[in-house]
């Protein structure tokens, strides 16, 4: 079945070159820093050296005295002129502006912006600005920040808690009471992020004649043009975001709204184009793009035969000093809160708490990967408690393929899957018996070695159902996406999408889908990115949604084009639609191939020969399709049940790790991943994103951390301290595909943009702990850095 579902397509699922690669390999991409606007000026920033302080005075005279320095902007002016940026939950007193006003709430927060002829000059000037601070009390530990009486990050809000609710889905207490065993554990997901190689950048230009702000940005953000306009007190149609800018990686974080409001305000105030391209320090410290920083307290109720009955999960998330959509990152996991397992009831208490640290932003998976790490660690603990094989325990509790659609306690229905087979495929790809032998041989030789297993879901199709779930005042129930298709007089096809891309290959996606439906060669199809004033509604490439939502919209639009071609042919040939057939763009009478209209003839009729058109059909040949997220459209129930996302991809990871006893350095000896994202539209793209997700997961598991000192200083401020895995840390990865088509999508596709990252940290952590098990110890916090592993080994050996 699975192989058959992937077959039967002309272009979908085939090995084909992408449309984007040629421009990237020749250095012909067009990134935001490549955009040169005549007369453009450059921004540099003055940032807070304190975790919390009152700003007493800012003196800019010496900066402004430099020739070529045009403006020093501070929060006093800016905050009066723009609307605050609000968090995604109902907390109106937690206001955020691009520049601090009166107080600073974390080290690195922007205090003043300098505009000068060159970036170098702007940096010189920034160094000449003097700020007097009165240091204030701060709070860094989220467990202290959550307590009554804590130092407050935003005193007007009255507490540091941005969001807290205890959901109970099903008879949790009864299930716990009935279970034969219970255990509790605490794990911590460290503060890391996606940290793309391109920092965030934005350029803006105000046209006073048209009263129009043009924006170019390395952006990946839903509702970005609307929110920019709202903050700048402009009508929505006075902001035009150019989406034909290549984004140098994002994976969720590139939500530079504060950057855009700052630069947009400056461009309008000064009358010339202004740009801000973050340097790496600005990106890591004040770019507000840190990821989840989460403490999980998990309780599991289970029986002696391995049946897991119920879960209680408390997730305390440190979002830093401000919040964009980050509290909602505790909401998305509601849609896969039991992972791939048949678990009868769940209690879930998400707590979003503020501290004096850099703000959190959306990160690949939107909170799902930390949750998967907690769940998978809990599964391993159950196995160890029962003395049961980890794989057998998973197989026992997996939802079976004959149980789909499967409704989980929190109200989401999983669409399809075959978890048993995918895990088996991953184990086969890793040669699991050989893996066990290798681990045991290493152990006999006195080395530390361990095997990690994880199995988890990738919710895909990017809906925003967590918004109404976490904020009853927000009744968002659509998260549509769209595509416009034009066939021009020459017969060439152009697909129009409505956001920028950050490496996901959307041009290839749209061309492949249009080519598939219209049976025209994708290589001949051009794909363009409309600017926001020309664009149809879109919610941008978030939540592993574009294969589903943009692919579905492109298919819908192409089918409308096809229907128009049929109508023209039926009219011209005087035939019933049912008597016609379509082949590679031509329409002919069934059984009489000579009575045929070619693609060119049909296009010519549509564009020139209105007299040959059927009545009721628009001239020209274009179609738009706006698609609501399948299964979407409903508000949550009173007890917080909701269909979160429509589609569920599945991945199973198997990894063998060896630890260098002298340095604590873990080496990933073997890595296999079984992956099922339904029908793959472009296998090369899916495999590339999956490998990239695993590499990112290796970083989160072993290396990457935004660490803070006790006085609130960010200690990882460069790539010398924040360690991104290189080709030497990332092993060769064996990916094995499986295909359980989704019943909700145009071709059976599911999402894959977050693949790999959702299960890799769990598997690697599990492998390291398997390696440490003979020492009788484990590490329950990520990242498990070589130093932490080495320290733990030393302590154990010293008898501590």
């Amino acid at each position: 079945m699975s192989a058959a579902a992937q077959k039967g397509f002309r272009y979908i699922g085939k090995k084909r070159r992408t449309k984007e690669d040629p421009r990237f390999v020749t250095g012909r991409g067009r990134f935001v820093a490549d955009i040169a606007l005549a007369g453009m000026k450059h921004v540099a920033l003055v940032t807070s050296p304190h975790a919390a302080a009152r700003i007493k005075a800012i003196r800019a005279d010496r900066a402004l005295a430099l020739a070529g320095v045009h403006c020093v902007l501070t929060g006093a002016e800016l905050c009066a002129a723009v609307e605050p940026l609000l968090p995604g939950v109902d907390a109106p007193k937690v206001t955020r502006y691009p520049l601090a006003h009166g107080v600073v709430r974390y080290a690195g927060e922007w205090v003043a912006a300098v505009v000068a002829d060159t970036r170098a000059l702007a940096e010189d000037a920034a160094e000449r600005i003097e700020v007097d601070y009165e240091p204030a009390e701060y709070v860094l530990d989220p467990e202290k920040a959550v307590l009554p009486g804590s130092v407050l990050v935003h005193p007007l809000h009255g507490s540091n808690v941005l969001y807290r609710r205890k959901f109970v889905w099903g008879p949790v207490e009864a299930d716990f009471a009935r279970a034969e065993h219970k255990l509790a554990l605490r794990v911590r997901w460290g503060r890391s992020a996606t940290v793309p190689i391109e920092t965030f950048g934005v350029a803006a230009q105000w046209d006073p004649g048209r009263q129009l702000l043009d924006v170019w940005a390395s952006i990946q953000m839903p509702k970005y043009p609307d929110q920019t306009a709202r903050a700048l007190r402009l009508p929505g149609n006075a902001v035009r975001v150019h989406f034909d800018v290549d984004v140098g990686g994002s994976f969720g974080v590139k939500r530079g709204l504060k950057h855009t409001v700052l630069v947009g305000y400056l461009a309008r105030k000064l009358g010339y184009p202004v740009r801000l391209i973050e340097d790496r320090l600005e990106n890591m410290r004040g770019g507000d793009m840190h990821g989840p920083d989460r403490i999980f307290d998990v309780q599991v109720a289970f029986d002696g035969d391995g049946t897991i009955r119920s879960l209680k999960i408390r997730a305390l998330d440190d979002v830093g000093a401000y919040a964009g959509r980050s509290p909602l990152q505790l909401g998305k996991p509601v849609g896969a809160i039991v992972g791939p397992y048949q678990i009868h009831s769940v209690e879930y208490e998400p707590i979003s708490v503020m501290t004096n640290k850099t703000a959190q932003e959306a990160v690949r998976g939107f909170g799902q990967s930390p949750t998967n790490y907690a769940l998978e660690t809990a599964i391993d603990r159950v196995a160890r408690h029962l003395g049961m094989d980890r794989i057998a325990l998973r197989q026992k509790n997996f939802i079976r393929k004959d149980q789909f659609p499967y409704l989980i306690p929190s109200g989401t229905s999983y669409d399809s899957g075959d978890f048993h087979t995918v895990l088996d495929k991953a184990l086969a790809a890793a040669d699991y018996p050989a893996l066990l032998a290798a681990r045991d041989a290493a152990r006999r030789a006195g080395r530390l070695a361990g095997i990690g297993i994880s199995s988890c879901l990738e919710p895909s199709g990017g809906n925003s159902a967590f918004e109404p779930l976490f904020n009853p005042k927000n009744e968002t129930t659509t998260w549509m996406d769209s595509c416009l298709v034009r066939v021009d007089l020459s017969g060439a096809i152009t697909g129009v999408m409505n956001t920028s891309s950050a490496g996901q290959g959307h041009d290839t996606l749209v061309a492949t889908v249009l080519g598939e439906v219209l049976e025209r060669a994708p290589d001949t199809i051009r794909v363009v990115h409309a600017d926001s004033l020309n664009a149809l509604p879109s919610n941008s490439p978030v939540g592993s949604r574009m294969a589903i939502m943009l692919g579905g919209a492109a298919a819908g639009a192409a089918r409308k084009i096809k229907a128009a071609l049929f109508a023209i042919a039926a009219h011209k040939l005087n035939q019933d639609l049912a008597d016609l057939e379509y082949h590679e763009g031509s329409v002919s009478v069934k059984g009489d191939a000579k009575r045929m209209l070619s693609w060119d003839q049909l296009v010519e009729i549509a564009h020139r020969k209105f007299h040959q058109m059927p009545s009721g059909l628009e001239p020209g040949l274009q179609a738009k399709f706006v698609w609501e997220v399948p299964t979407g459209g409903a508000l949550p129930t009173a007890d917080g049940r909701i269909q979160m996302y429509p589609c569920f991809s599945f991945e199973a990871h198997v990894v063998l790790v060896e630890i260098d006893p002298a340095t604590g350095q873990p080496k990933l000896v073997r890595y296999a991943c079984g992956h099922d994202c339904g029908v793959m539209i472009s296998p090369d793209i899916v495999h590339g994103m999956t490998c990239g997700g695993i590499a990112h997961g290796i970083g989160a598991a072993l290396y990457e951390k935004f660490a803070y000192s006790d006085n609130g200083q960010l200690e990882s401020q460069s790539f010398m301290d924040y360690l991104i895995p290189s080709a030497m840390e990332v092993p060769a990865i064996a990916i094995v595909d499986h295909c359980s088509p989704s019943p909700h999508t145009s071709f059976g596709q599911k999402g894959s943009g977050e693949a790999g990252y959702l299960g890799a940290p769990a598997a690697i952590a599990c492998a390291v702990n398997d390696a440490l098990a003979p020492l009788g110890t484990s590490i329950d916090a990520l990242p498990m850095t070589p130093l932490q592993i080495w320290t733990r080994m030393r302590d154990v050996r010293a008898g501590n």
């Binding site: 070159r17 992408t18 984007e20 690669d21 040629p22 421009r23 990237f24 390999v25 020749t26 250095g27 012909r28 991409g29 990134f31 820093a33 490549d34 430099l66 020739a67 070529g68 170098a120 000059l121 010189d124 996606t194 940290v195 793309p196 190689i197 391109e198 920092t199 290549d246 140098g248 990686g249 994002s250 994976f251 340097d279 790496r280 950050a502 490496g503 996901q504 290959g505 090369d684 793209i685 495999h687 590339g688 994103m689 999956t690 490998c691 990239g692 997700g693 695993i694 590499a695 990112h696 460069s718 790539f719 010398m720 991104i724 290189s726 080709a727 030497m728 990332v730 060769a732 990865i733």
Partner: protein, 163 residues
Amino acid sequence: MSEQLYPISIEVNGTLREALVPARLSLVDFLRDTLRLTGTHAGCEHGICGACSVLLDGEPVRSCLMYAVQADGRKLTTIEGLAQPDGTPGALQDAFCEAHATQCGFCTPGMVISAHALLETNPAPSEHEIREAIGGNLCRCTGYQQIVDAIKLAAAKREAPTP
């Protein structure tokens, strides 16, 4: 504040380029802003990510860690210089397309530069040698696998050029 300017003369992608530049202008800024060769990217500006890699007299270097004046009198090759004269991909770049070794494309120019330097000195590298050669180029999208595949493919094509 007017800065003193220094004359430099650099052969870039086979063309002699002359300019007056301040001493503190980095080579990457000179290439990008002065010459408008924007294929060379600034990712970290402290010599770790490798996105700004160029060939200096054939050797891969970080153009963010050099001043433009230090390249005076030298020969530079940037990513644009590895394409065919009409701007379409050269052989190594074509192998990157065949293996889909890019996603966002931001690290790609530096990767191609490092791979080119490797294959010039080691036409038949092992996987480990490939990984070592690109070990100073960070990529956040691909997990490196398709990049390694592309370099292997390019090496194989060098060994057996099509007639």
